[in-house]
Structures are given as structure tokens and as C-alpha cells.
């Protein structure tokens, strides 16, 4: 598993609070058994309605890797299809005022860091990306700063989650499976496990 210490590239600003996962990937695109192909469908309805004016359609943001959003991004449905669609479009990290909790957790499990920044800093970064879309920016998880032009702004991420990215342990699956003996011991001390109410009984 790979360490994630910094992400450099071009940024894409997407303004608006409470952008929910139904908007990120409308439910009709969830009729699939793989995540392949979701990148093309990201924000499908919002993009159709804005007729080329959506940031994800604008030529200056094609190839961007850092998405800059506002408050409560990714609220609503737990569908991992939402961050998968964003990642398959090309995004490697998100900077925002705040994120919905399940969305944030899904991103961690995919190795896509979501950091928060003060609203004023997010808005400053969004304005900067609107004016200078081609200039690269950099998110540094070690320094907890985002750099744009000659500017820097502090970003935030809990210590535990940050360490998972820095150490390359964001994919917890292997660690969880490795503790299988302790898992069995925990199960055995839970009274309900032996009550015989489980599905197979």
C-alpha cells in the first residue's frame, strides 16, 4: 500500500454547500456491479443543467487532481460510488470547509485524503483557482499546508487519519484480518453471539 505525503497538481474549484452524493453520482448510475466507468458520469445532472459551465466540464480544469469544495460536501447516501466517481475522473485529494462523515471515511478507505481549511482560506483558494486555473498547487500532509502561488494556508486532518496516509496504512483491511484471533475472542465474550439468533440458526 502506498504512502500519501503530498499531492501536487492543478486544482478545480466547486462552489456550494451541502453538495450531496445523489448530485455527485445520481442513483441511476448505481445500476452496475463494478465502479468502472463512473468517472464519466460524475455530477451528470448538474453538468447537463449547467450546459458546459460546470467546473468539471470547463476546459481549464481538465486534468486537475485537487478538488476544492465548501461546507458539508458528500452528505446523504453512503454510496462509495460518489468518491469513486470523483477519483476516477482524476481527483487525488479534496480540500474543503467540511465533509460529511461517511463520505470522508469512504475517501480514507480509498486512499484519497480530505483535509479541511478555514472557510476564508477555502474561498481564497477557490478564487485563486478561478483566476489562475493552470498554476499548480500542492497539498502537503506532512506540513499540513496547502500552497498556491506564493501563498500558503493551514489545513487540518485528525492525527490518526493523517498517520494512515503518511505511513501508507489507509487500507485497513489487511490489519483487520491480521487480528483474527482477537476478533474471535471479542465475539466469544459477546452474549448475543451464542444466543442462537444469527441468520443461519
Amino acid at each position: 500500500m502506498s504512502q500519501v505525503k503530498s499531492i501536487a497538481g492543478r486544482g478545480i474549484p466547486l462552489t456550494g454547500n451541502d453538495i450531496d452524493t445523489d448530485r455527485i453520482i445520481p442513483a441511476r448510475f448505481l445500476r452496475c456491479v463494478t465502479f468502472d466507468g463512473l468517472g464519466a458520469q460524475v455530477f451528470a445532472d448538474d453538468r447537463a443543467q449547467t450546459q458546459g459551465q460546470h467546473a468539471f466540464d470547463q476546459p481549464q480544469y481538465q486534468g486537475a487532481t485537487l478538488l476544492v469544495v465548501n461546507r458539508n460536501f458528500g452528505c446523504g447516501s453512503s454510496r462509495e460510488h460518489a468518491p469513486q466517481a470523483i477519483a476516477k475522473w482524476g481527483i487525488k485529494a479534496l480540500i474543503g470547509e467540511s465533509f460529511a462523515e461517511i463520505f470522508f471515511g469512504n475517501c480514507v478507505a480509498m486512499g484519497v485524503p480530505c483535509v479541511t481549511a478555514a472557510p476564508a482560506d477555502v474561498q481564497r483558494l477557490q478564487s485563486w483557482l478561478t483566476e489562475l486555473p493552470q498554476d499548480p498547487i500542492k497539498l502537503d500532509l506532512e506540513a499540513l499546508e496547502v500552497y498556491f502561488g506564493h501563498n500558503a494556508a493551514p489545513v487540518f486532518m485528525s492525527e490518526g487519519v493523517r498517520n494512515m496516509f503518511l505511513n501508507g496504512t489507509w487500507d485497513a483491511c489487511g490489519q483487520l484480518v491480521a487480528q483474527i484471533e482477537q476478533v474471535r475472542q471479542t465475539a466469544n465474550r459477546l452474549p448475543y453471539v451464542s444466543w442462537g439468533q444469527s441468520a443461519s440458526m
Partner: protein, 467 residues
């Protein structure tokens, strides 16, 4: 930091250990899966050469994509059929119980697990669906997860998680006539906001919740996530035990007595410490309707769409967007808003008591001309019970369509969709843009009785005048 709450106790007893990241490895007592968020998880498992570690602790059904009219296989929608075949095969290959269509046990995952007695106090419950918070009604810690985490549970029966803070939401008093559990949770969300619960578990306490039935408590906990709280719960009590006793998977015989005493020991202590406490008065809650594009944009049925100067500055841009999208003007009364479609169903309000309340309003009345109204029972068992009580006949006589069980137009992954700019009165949980299947469709959330009132009046109406 919270101490002595049910959340703390259940968390501690399910803790396997602390991971190097500092996160907790938490054992998941019941894992529920459905056809939309699980196929990729099984594929990830195969890619890594992992097997399902505790297949007896995962239970599956199909709900999101199932048609509610013609359920003959193969489905007309080839993509939906492919998803059905995937979950059938994945469950068969891995020894997981699957409640298929026609089994008598199929339905919305958050309806069938409680009705079978799978959901019990003191459990940790996870499902790749944000409305898993529903199961907290039993005093379980239940939350939605993404597909990578579905993989983690299949592989290890555990998750890597950070502990939540606990906010006690106390509502006291008797609900006025015509005010339902749905109105209580819409009121809470409208007051605390859609981000108010981020980082918290919500403990719903106070006499209002104590007086609620299990189905009402499920409605409340179901929508905790709409307030940003990944899980919500009610401490288990006699109402909980009475509901569970005798259900398929409830403990039996001497196990039952042991279970009750364990469950009682898990309730939050009288001197428990919370990270936050908020108190409401039930008497102040009115039948509530959303006017906007988030579940927090709600008002009493006799109120007006709020003006931007009445709200915090941070909410105004979204309000402007909502006025445009909904085609509702600030200051306009919400009552009287014309309705095109009425939907009664979903994991929020698709249970038997919901259908009974809606049927009381529909009985002896007629769906207004030009309104399409339909009822989707939450499960095959709910459907069967409703038919035994004659509710289907009441609805059909009033001009409602009576359908098969599923998620249906809550999220419109099946053929039930709004068309164009249609506006729906819906007993579901989300009024997001495009949520009900049309990218310009509009949703007004309300209780099932209020949906029935809207259906017969043809517009948003105060159900209290019809009771």
C-alpha cells in the same frame, strides 16, 4: 468526552483493539447487505484472495432496484437483473442468507431486519446504506458504511473507526394530534441543521420517545443521518422487549431472560456524561414539511417559506438555490402547494403503522384529479399484514396504487420515478435535487398521513383538519 452512555458501553464491549493509527477495531455483530453496495466488495475480496470470515453474521436482501409492479425475472432492466444475479451468486458462493423476492421475507433492509428480530439491543450493526441508523431504535449502535468497509466486514467482521461524541436530544411531552415521529425528526433537523450532528451519535431521550412505538422510534433514528449524525439510538426499554419477544431471531427460553437483563444493563446511566444536550418541547412541534433541497429546510405546514433575512448568513446561498429549484418564493405559504405525485413508503415510513395512519386519512376519500398516488409497503411481511387488515382495499378504493415491497421512489433506482418538473409529497427521507429520478423533479418530505392528506386534497394540506 461521553461516559456511561449506551454508546460508550456498546462501543467498549465490541472493541477488539486499537490499531496503529489510533482508530478502534470494532466488532460488527450484524452486517446487512443489499444489491447496490455489495458486488464491488465481493470483487475486492476475490481480488485479495480473502474469504467471508463470519458468513452467519451477514444477512442479505434486494431492495433498491426491485420493480414494484412487475417483478417477473429476468427484470426488464438488464442492469438491475445483472445486479440481482450478482447478489444471488455472491450469497450462494459465500454461504450468506439471502431473502429473495417472493420468499415472504424480502423488503427494505431496514424494515426486514427489525421485523425478523435480527436487530437487537446492544449490537453493533453496519450496512452499506446511510439509513442503517434506523436500527439504533433498539439501542444498537448502527451506522452506514461504504463499499470498501463492506469488504472489511466480510473479511474480518470488524471495522476501523474513530469513536463518536454523544449528544443527548431530549424531547418531552405528548405529541399533539396529527403530529408524528416524522415531524419530530424533521423538527430536530430543521433546528440543529444538516451538519449539526457531524461527529456525533444522537441519543434520543425524554418522555416523547419513551411513549413512541418501536416503529416510530425507527422513523426518528432513520433520519439521524439527515442531521449529519451517522448513528442515532434510543435506550432499550419494555417497549423494545415487547416488540422483540417471539420474533424469528429473538433469543428464546432462558436466553430471553439473560438477554433482557443484559440489554437493561446497557442503557445510559442516570448520571451518564454527554458531550452535548439539547432539549425540545413536543408541544411546539407541528406537522412539518420541507420546502427546499435539504432535509433541514423544513417548516410547519401553516408557515411560510422563510425569507433569507430570517436565516443565518451561511444558509442564504443554499436558500436562494432552493427557491429557484423548487420554484417557491420566500414568504409563500407552503400549504396549498399543488402536488403531482404522492409516495408512501421507504425505510423511513414504509412500516405497518405508517400505512395504517395513511389509510385512516385515505379512507372514504378520493385521490384528487391529476394526482398519481402509490403505496409501497416496506417489506413482503408488511404487505401481507396490510392486506390482512384490508388496508390495500382502502387505498385502492381511494385511488392509490398498491405495489410490491422495495425502496421504490425514495431514490428511484427502479422504474418508479418523477417525470420532468413534477413535485411529489413523499414519506421518504431526502429532498435532494434529482433524488426521485428526474433531474429537475421536486420533493416535499412529510409524514405518511400528511402525504395521504396531500393526495386527497391535491395540494399540501394540514392533516389535522382531516382527522
Amino acid at each position: 468526552m461521553s461516559q456511561g452512555t449506551l454508546f460508550d458501553k456498546v462501543w467498549d464491549v465490541h472493541t477488539v483493539g486499537t490499531l496503529p493509527s489510533g482508530q478502534t477495531q470494532l466488532f460488527i455483530g450484524l452486517h446487512l447487505i443489499h444489491e447496490v453496495t455489495s458486488p464491488q466488495a465481493f470483487a475486492m475480496l476475490r481480488d485479495r484472495g480473502l474469504k467471508v470470515m463470519f458468513p452467519e453474521r451477514t444477512v442479505a436482501t434486494a431492495d433498491h432496484i426491485v420493480p414494484t409492479e412487475n417483478q417477473a425475472r429476468p427484470f426488464a432492466d438488464v442492469l438491475a437483473e445483472e445486479m440481482m444475479q450478482a447478489i444471488e451468486k455472491n450469497c450462494k458462493d459465500n454461504g450468506i442468507t439471502f431473502h429473495n423476492i417472493g420468499s415472504g421475507n424480502q423488503g427494505v433492509v431496514h424494515v426486514i431486519a427489525p421485523e425478523q428480530g435480527l436487530t437487537q439491543p446492544g449490537m453493533t450493526i453496519a450496512c452499506g446504506d446511510s439509513h442503517t441508523s434506523t436500527h439504533g431504535a433498539f439501542g444498537a449502535i448502527a451506522f452506514g458504511i461504504g463499499t470498501s468497509q463492506v469488504r472489511d466486514i466480510l473479511a474480518s467482521q470488524t471495522l476501523a473507526l474513530s469513536k463518536l461524541k454523544v449528544r443527548k436530544i431530549e424531547v418531552n411531552g405528548k405529541l399533539p394530534k396529527g403530529v408524528y415521529a416524522k415531524d419530530v425528526i424533521l423538527h430536530v433537523i430543521r433546528t440543529l441543521g444538516v451538519t449539526g450532528g457531524v461527529g456525533y451519535a444522537y441519543e434520543f431521550a425524554g418522555t416523547t420517545f419513551e411513549q413512541m412505538s418501536m416503529e416510530e422510534r425507527m422513523t426518528v433514528c432513520n433520519m439521524a443521518i439527515e442531521g449529519g449524525a451517522r448513528c442515532g439510538y434510543v435506550n432499550p426499554d419494555a417497549v423494545t422487549f415487547e416488540y422483540l419477544k417471539g420474533r424469528d431471531f429473538a433469543p428464546k427460553g432462558t436466553d430471553w431472560d439473560k438477554a433482557v437483563s443484559w440489554w437493561q444493563s446497557l442503557s445510559s446511566d442516570a448520571n451518564a456524561q454527554y458531550d452535548d444536550v439539547v432539549i425540545f418541547d413536543a408541544a411546539e412541534i407541528a406537522p412539518t414539511v420541507t420546502w427546499g433541497i435539504t432535509p433541514g429546510q423544513g417548516i410547519g405546514v401553516n408557515q411560510q417559506v422563510p425569507t433569507t433575512d430570517s436565516m443565518p448568513e451561511g444558509d442564504r446561498v443554499l436558500a436562494e438555490e432552493a427557491y429557484r429549484y423548487m420554484d417557491l418564493a420566500p414568504g409563500q405559504a407552503i400549504a396549498g402547494t399543488k402536488i403531482d405525485v404522492c409516495f408512501i413508503g421507504s425505510c423511513t415510513n414504509g412500516r405497518i403503522s405508517d400505512l395504517r395512519e395513511a389509510a385512516k386519512v385515505a379512507q372514504g376519500r378520493q385521490v384528487a384529479e391529476g394526482v398519481k398516488a402509490f403505496v409501497v409497503p416496506g417489506s413482503e411481511r408488511v404487505k401481507q399484514q396490510a392486506e390482512a387488515e384490508g388496508l390495500d382495499k382502502i387505498f385502492e378504493a381511494a385511488g392509490f396504487e398498491w405495489r410490491e415491497a422495495g425502496c421504490s421512489m425514495c431514490l428511484a433506482m427502479n422504474p418508479d420515478k418523477l417525470q420532468g418538473r413534477q413535485i411529489s409529497a413523499s414519506s421518504s427521507n431526502r429532498n435532494f435535487k434529482g433524488r426521485q429520478g428526474s433531474s429537475s423533479g421536486r420533493t416535499l418530505l412529510m409524514s405518511p398521513a400528511m402525504v395521504a392528506a396531500a393526495a386527497v386534497q391535491g395540494s399540501v394540506s394540514d392533516v389535522r383538519e382531516l382527522l
